[in-house]
């Protein structure tokens, strides 16, 4: 029996394909990684099939590359690093297993997108802590496994949030439910006892979730996960504050977060805000951008179930007083940007075309984690680097997201480019590498390295690299899980 036939036996003949046009979809993405065509694409439907598939991969020593989101992909982590790989496309696993309004938890399979989950949690009076405008095809689980930043820092207690428990099939083929989902009992028995699979750590003296998060599919495949949600507020009021000085807005943001005043809270530069709001390209983009200050803070305040107007009322007073002390002014609109319109946009996935593809056709993100004290300098450095590489600074998008309750900041530069212009693409690739080298020596921590950053990131930290390789050997001794990624 051929290997394709063996896979068909496990998954059914309609769920395995080696058609050239199908393989081509997975052979490359928007990133700069070298294209490599996989051997075939397999689409399992459940945990049992995934387990069998991983066992098969161990027997045949076949590399497998898990993918949960639909295209376009941007980071190269789902493009095989070596030939002969089987893509494990999890998009058929689309069950929203459970939304538990009382305990603020949703349980989902990897193929569930934000577009599908948002209405389901709303129905139960909940809201998600979302990343910034994910594309419509983005897997919720994929986003959270990658520790992507989320827009409500106040509810982002730990960098692993809002992911809670998972069920994972490791590279060995063994199944483990992480956190409080581990047991005792089946999920149904746990639900009957009142449990909700909400504790991420554990079981017991290890935190197995943290070994799967950020692993880019190199340790195992997650078959479902629980996601922490928050109660939807009764009233939600959005504000914009503009300034030419990033530091002033950062100081205001610091107090908003420290005193737990804001729900959504993020900073954009004019280019990014205009790009998000513009519906017609390029005319509306330019029109909006020309009315905006260089930096814009967006935040919301909310009134919960109890006396929502009262809460809104005091928060308005408190935030206005704080703004006055910093000579800032929270507004409903700045230029052609409306706070209410932005609120509506940010609570849904991006409309098509995906906002990062608007205008030029592709985007390369340079992002890292940093802290308040270093942020302004790092933005200045990046502006200088862009100029050095002849990239128009006025067109570069910047997104700053406070995370972990303000302890950290996610800082992201969006470099929009024309993917058909190979010279421009080449320059941006070089810019990306130099940005890593320069910024990582000035306090920027590239916690999620992709593409050419990977080697540079691990070269800076040999001890962590050695430790991670030991862990990889435990969970994936045959190195079948997405080999060639990270330091594996």
């Amino acid at each position: 029996m051929s290997e394709k036939e063996q896979l068909m036996k496990i998954l059914g003949k309609d769920n395995v394909s080696d058609a050239p046009e199908e393989l081509a979809k997975y052979a490359e993405d928007e990133s700069f990684v070298h294209p490599i065509r996989p051997r075939c694409v397999a689409k399992p439907a459940n945990t049992d099939e995934i387990q069998k598939l991983i066992n098969w991969a161990n027997e045949t020593l076949t590399p497998i590359v898990p993918i949960s989101s639909g295209p376009p992909h941007f980071r190269g982590d789902t493009v095989p690093s070596i030939g002969g790989a089987v893509i494990v496309d999890l998009s058929r696993m689309k069950k929203i297993v459970r939304v538990d309004g009382e305990h603020r938890i949703a349980m989902i399979e990897p193929g569930v997108t934000f577009k599908e989950l948002i209405p389901a949690v709303r129905k139960e009076g909940l809201r998600l802590n979302m990343p910034l405008l994910p594309r419509a095809s983005k897997s919720v689980l994929g986003s959270m496994l990658e520790r992507e930043p989320v827009i409500m820092p106040k509810y982002h207690w730990d960098i692993s949030d809002p992911l809670a428990c998972t069920e994972v099939i490791y590279g060995t083929g063994d199944l483990l439910r992480t956190g409080s989902a581990a047991g005792p009992g089946s999920l149904k028995e746990q639900w009957k006892s009142g449990a909700a699979q909400n504790e991420a750590a554990g079981p017991i003296q290890a935190d197995f979730l943290r070994l799967i998060q950020g692993a880019q599919g190199t340790m195992g495949i997650v078959t479902w996960a629980t996601i922490r949600c928050e109660h939807a507020p009764i009233i939600e009021e959005p504000y914009l504050i503009g300034s030419s000085k990033l530091n002033d807005l950062l100081e205001y943001t610091y107090w908003l977060i420290r005193n737990r005043m804001a729900d959504d809270c993020l900073l954009l530069n004019d280019a990014n805000l205009a790009r998000i709001l513009a519906k017609e390209w390029p005319t509306e983009y330019e029109k909006i951008k020309n009315t905006l200050p260089p930096w814009i803070l967006f935040f919301t305040i909310s009134g919960p179930k109890y006396f929502p107007e009262d809460r809104i009322s005091y928060l308005k007073t408190d935030m206005a007083s704080l703004a006055q002390s910093l000579k800032l002014e929270p507004l409903r609109a700045i230029g052609k940007a409306s706070a209410f319109e932005l609120l509506k946009i940010l609570h849904e996935p991006s409309e098509e075309p995906y906002w990062k593809l608007r205008g030029k056709g592709s985007c390369h993100d340079i992002f890292f984690i940093t802290i308040y004290d270093q942020l302004s300098e790092q933005v200045d450095i990046m502006n200088s680097l862009a100029m050095k590489f002849d990239y128009p600074v006025y067109d570069m998008g910047i997104y700053i997201q406070p995370i972990v309750q303000g302890v950290n900041y996610h800082c992201e530069f969006n470099i929009f480019f024309d993917p058909t212009n190979s010279l421009e693409k080449c320059k941006i690739e070089s810019l990306s590498e130099e940005a890593f080298n320069t910024l990582s020596n000035r306090g920027a921590f590239f916690s999620r390295p992709y593409g050419s950053w990977v080697d540079m990131a691990y070269r800076k930290d040999a001890e962590t690299t050695i430790a991670l390789r030991k862990i990889k050997k435990m969970f994936d001794p045959n190195n079948i899980m997405n080999p060639g990624k990270l330091c594996f």
Binding site: H103, R147, W157, I159, S160, D174, L175, L176, R177, S180, A182, G183, P184, G185, Q190, S193, G194, N198, E199, A201, G202, P203, I204, Q205, A206, F208, R210, L211, Q213, G214, T218, Y254, R258, P304, Y306, F307, D310, R311, Y314, D318, I369, T370, I371, D373, Q405, G406, V407, S440, N441, G443, F445, F446, S447, R448, P449, D461, E463, T464, I471, M474
Partner: protein
């Protein structure tokens, strides 16, 4: 008893100098004298270790660990050393590494709301500095004398967890001397970028150094770590009056209040606690059983008994909890009080009158903020406790399990070795992160004898069986091979992975694993 391997002793002495190593029997005994030792030896002493060493810096810790690996000498590091956990498993082939000389606060970053500490920085020591900057620590329930590092504690949870989270989730970057003597710096620290993040690049090594419980000395030594800080709306340098143990705020800080509501039933208590947590009203939600509440509010056992009688009369069996409300502004404080009143009305809650006295409020607010409730109360009666311990997943289910365990306890009390509660229950409870997670336990005081401890431990195991049969989440007291082997099959055989971690990172098996797991096949 002295360290059996004399070459190892000499090598350690060469690293530390004669002043910071000891095998004097009296010194060894001072470490072996631990509450709970009776369970293992029928005496207040555990077996002595072979030597005590006191390193001053990470390089010395690394040198010690390398010597231990070379000579196959087991070691266990302790920070503040709390109970039998800190000395179990040691003998003449093992050393105790006392981290008390590593007591520096390395950094308090006000704008990024974290602090970097060495292992002997206590919660009290760190809090004294952070309050000055308007920031607070996660005060561990075992008391302000415990380690401020978010790693060394067993569970790392405390009564303020509703607003200050808990141990495993407050941890940022870490400096770790691995069991075989390498130094690994986590996250941003490993990349040379400071202490602000403990995860990455890629998967997070935080995953192997603790879960809901710490590794309790069983997997190397943590020499520095960064911990998150939280807003403090009170005075930067509180003015006090009175004398120990009756210290109190000179004036109740503006925008602070403390109450002890009582409820018609446990269901109503749970409903109210969760509503308060989910609506982000409280700085602290802490359930103390009436006898412990009274111990906490008084300076002696006699005073406690007197107050208990008074409180019992008023509460008439109705359970309650402690809640501290604070606001960053007057308006916020008033809003929170208004919502609290509404929740009380919905759940039939009434404030216990004793806690409405102004001087009592000032005292209890200080003690709960600064000392952490639990310590005085846990030890005053007989000096020994443990009990039925719930999970760290949910306050609701954990409390319900404890209520079930109360019935079991009655049987054990008949044997006479477990102290009666002097009240309707012995349930402690706390809530973390606006109610997303929580914990409860039933602390039992036992007579300080081997028989007392054995009854208590038997009761604990029976409670575990109950938890398993009813599919309640695992408790946070799964220590040592026996317990891991007991629980592992019910928890997807996690213990087999834990053993692999131990074996991989401690190839010589020298990091003492009595409170963790061994690498046995």
């Amino acid at each position: 008893m002295a360290l059996k391997n004399r070459d190892a002793y000499k090598a350690l002495e060469d690293v530390l100098g004669t002043e910071y190593i000891s095998e004097e029997p009296a010194v060894l005994d001072s470490y072996a004298f631990q509450w709970g030792a009776e369970l293992f030896t029928d005496t207040p002493f555990l077996p002595r270790s072979g030597a005590i060493v006191l390193p001053h810096k990470t390089e010395e810790v690394q040198a010690i660990v390398k010597i231990c690996n070379k000579y196959k000498v087991r070691y266990k590091a302790i920070s503040h050393g709390w109970g039998f956990y800190s000395a179990l498993g040691l003998d003449e082939n093992a050393i105790h590494i006392d981290m008390r000389r590593m007591n520096r606060i390395i950094e308090i970053n006000e704008k990024s709301m974290y602090a970097v500490v060495e292992p002997y920085v206590s919660c009290a020591m760190l809090q004294a500095e952070t309050l000055k900057k308007g920031l607070n620590v996660n005060m561990i329930g075992a008391g302000c004398n415990t380690c401020a590092m978010p790693l060394t504690a067993h569970q790392g949870t405390g009564s303020g967890g509703v607003s200050t989270s808990c141990g495993d989730r407050n941890c940022l970057a870490v400096e770790w001397v691995t069991p075989d003597g390498e130094i690994i710096k986590f996250g941003s620290l490993g990349s040379g970028n400071g202490w602000f993040c403990g995860d990455g690049p890629g998967p997070s090594l935080r995953g192997i150094i603790r879960g809901t419980q710490g590794v309790m000395g069983g997997l190397g030594i943590f020499t520095k770590a960064a911990t998150k800080l939280y807003p403090w709306y009170g005075p930067p340098q509180p003015e006090l009056e009175g004398a120990s143990p009756y210290y109190r705020f000179k004036e109740l800080p503006p925008n602070f209040d403390i109450h002890h509501p009582i409820f018609p039933s446990w269901d109503k208590l749970i409903e109210a606690a969760m509503k308060i947590a989910e609506n982000e009203l409280a700085m602290m939600i802490f359930r103390l059983p009436p006898p412990m509440l009274c111990e906490a509010l008084t300076g002696s056992g006699d005073e406690g008994a007197e107050l208990l009688a008074e409180i019992q009369q008023e509460s008439n069996g109705r359970p309650g909890f402690l809640v501290i409300i604070a606001g960053s502004t007057v308006a916020e404080f008033n809003y929170r009080k208004k919502v609290l009143a509404q929740i009380m009305a919905e759940t039939g809650g009434e404030f216990l009158s004793h806690l409405e006295k102004e001087d009592v409020k000032r005292m209890f607010l200080w003690s709960e903020t600064r000392y952490s409730g639990g310590v005085r109360e846990a030890f005053r009666a007989v000096g020994r406790f443990l009990g039925a311990i719930g999970d760290s997943a949910m306050f609701q289910t954990s409390t319900r399990l404890m209520l079930d365990c109360m019935e079991l306890k009655k049987e054990f009390q008949k044997r006479g070795n477990i102290r009666a509660d002097d009240g309707p229950d012995a349930i402690i409870g706390m809530i973390f992160e606006n109610g997303h997670t929580g914990h409860a336990e039933q602390l039992i005081m036992c007579h300080p004898t081997g028989a007392g401890w054995r009854d208590l431990m038997e009761f604990t195991v029976e409670c575990e069986k109950l938890a398993i049969s009813k599919c309640y989440t695992a408790p946070v007291t799964v220590w040592g091979d026996d317990a891991h082997d007991r629980w592992g099959p019910h928890l997807c055989n996690y213990h087999l992975w834990l053993r692999k971690i131990k074996k991989t990172f401690d190839p010589n098996g020298v990091s003492e694993a009595a409170m963790y797991i061994s690498a046995k096949e």
